[in-house]
């Protein structure tokens, strides 16, 4: 079973979102791809993160993760402005494979307003979603 931390929220396209300031309605969030996603992609060899300052809408394709075999888009789970991209990944894309919820994070957003969490899943819901998907 994939490793799915309880303190994160998840999307159907296998991104995760971490609130940097607890349950505040807006603020800073960190975004990456799930353990399931990195495992399905295989060894990553190239990661492109969004530029700082770019404004993203929820659902917008904004990053690319490429394994030896294929390229895959990453979609922003929420709307906001990019305040950081993970610069380490240019030289070490494998960090996403090794530590998808930690040093393999992709980018951070400043959310403008309370964001709609209805499209985001809890860890339990995401676990169920994965189970249903692989049936």
């Amino acid at each position: 079973m994939s490793d799915i931390p309880n303190d994160l929220r998840y999307t159907k396209s296998h991104e995760w979102v971490r609130r940097a300031n607890g349950d505040a309605p807006n603020g800073t969030v960190e975004i990456g791809i799930s353990q399931h996603a990195q495992s399905a992609l295989g060894d990553l060899v190239f990661v492109e993160v969004p530029e700082v300052g770019r404004t993203l809408s929820a659902g917008e394709a904004c990053a690319v993760v490429e394994s030896v075999k294929a390229a895959s888009d990453v979609y922003s789970p929420v709307s906001g402005k990019v305040i950081a991209g993970n610069g380490e990944l240019a030289a070490q894309p494998e960090l996403v494979n090794q530590d998808p919820y930690g040093s393999g994070w992709l980018f951070r957003l400043q959310t403008a307003a309370p964001f709609d969490e209805t499209s985001l899943m809890s860890a339990a819901d995401y676990a169920q979603f994965l189970a249903d998907e692989t049936k």
Partner: protein
């Protein structure tokens, strides 16, 4: 459910990610494709290639038949055991398949053909074999394991009876020989030294496990693809197919136009195409970060368009490399369109890597 080789259960037991490949359920990797790639370049790795078709051709006129069927000339095969790489062509020059042919005796040659083209190959070969009285037999009873890497031959020898080891070690490159029920050839698809072993399916799982005990790393189709591309070797269906002839696929060296009196299927068409010039298959090195992929558009210095036929990330070079079919161009600098943006790339002469060493300047 797809077809399974005699080693399918071994792959599953070793944690392989299984994918469909030409109708076969084959291992893509056993955890890390890149580590498997490095194992082959630095030590020894093994691939289950039992999905490929082993086809034995027998009859008094088999050499004459193959000199007509294949674009390369089996007349060059003088010593039993010697192998030759060739394309098999349609009359219009399109490539039906690429294959290895082994000269076993004047009455018997052996072909190894691709899995995805096996059935159409057999139909084509069978149709032309009749006139020469040649019998065609698909060897479903055989499995095939490719053991590749600088230490591959030494490790494989440990599976043989001591009396057989010297003979196996002395096999020159591109020769094969029978060792009781096994046929061992010093061939491969990785740019490294090694063996390809054809053996009874019933022996396959035991041999696979003994090779693991010798420290040979199981490697999947993913590593097989990055290794062959670094070695500058074509993949049927990507780099050539029925719509593309050998001369625009980097395979002119496999077409034997001499002796001129030898008539082979596709010859007349290729002679016309040779005079016409046209496109060529080249190697590409991406100068920027990113990954080249098949079907990406290539723009030459003259602003004419070509296409990437195979692209990947090269684990040995830590850069992206590709084969691409482009109009003949004057300069080495080209651009490749990746997700709507043009990126600088350089035309280089494959192979990119051989025997563990980079052959191009980065």
């Amino acid at each position: 459910m797809g077809l399974k080789t005699a080693l399918y259960d071994s792959h599953v037991l070793q944690g392989a990610k299984i994918v469909d490949f030409g109708g076969w359920e084959m291992p893509l990797h056993y955890g890390s494709q890149i580590e498997e790639h490095h194992a082959v370049r630095r030590d020894a790795g093994m691939f289950d290639v039992s999905h490929m078709g082993v086809v034995d051709l027998t009859g008094g006129r088999v050499r004459e038949f193959l000199r007509n069927l294949l674009a390369n000339d089996v007349g060059r095969l003088k010593i039993p055991g010697k192998a030759l790489y060739s394309c098999m062509l349609l009359p219009n020059g399109g490539v039906i398949d690429d294959l290895i042919v082994y000269f076993l005796s004047e009455n018997m040659f052996r072909l190894v053909v691709n899995a995805g083209t096996r059935d159409k190959d057999l139909a084509w070969i069978g149709r032309h074999a009749q006139a020469f009285g040649v019998a065609v037999a698909l060897r479903r009873d055989l499995a095939m394991i490719a053991i590749q890497g600088p230490n591959a031959r030494q490790k494989t020898l440990q599976l043989l009876a001591p009396a057989q080891r010297a003979a196996a070690l002395e096999l020159p490159p591109f020769y094969g020989a029978a060792f009781e029920s096994w046929f061992i050839a010093r061939t491969g698809y990785t740019g490294e030294d090694g063996f390809e072993v054809m053996l009874p399916s019933a022996d396959a799982a035991r041999a696979w496990n003994e090779l693991r005990t010798q420290g040979v790393a199981p490697a999947g189709l993913g590593a097989r693809d990055t290794l062959r591309l670094e070695a500058g070797m074509n993949l049927y269906g990507n780099d050539m197919d029925e719509e593309h002839h050998p001369l625009e696929s980097g395979l002119a060296w496999t077409v034997a136009f001499e002796p001129g009196e030898r008539d082979f299927l596709g010859r007349a068409a290729l002679e016309d195409l040779r005079r016409a010039g046209g496109r060529e298959l080249v190697g590409l090195l991406l100068e920027e970060r990113g990954v080249l992929r098949s079907h990406q558009k290539v723009v030459t210095a003259e602003m004419s368009a070509g296409e990437v036929t195979s692209g990947t990330f090269s684990p040995t070079l830590n850069r992206s490399i590709a084969l691409a079919r482009v109009p003949r161009t004057s300069g080495a600098a080209v651009q490749v369109e990746i997700r709507g943006k043009l990126h600088a790339a350089r035309i280089v002469k494959p192979p990119f890597v051989r025997h563990g060493k980079a052959l191009i300047s980065l």
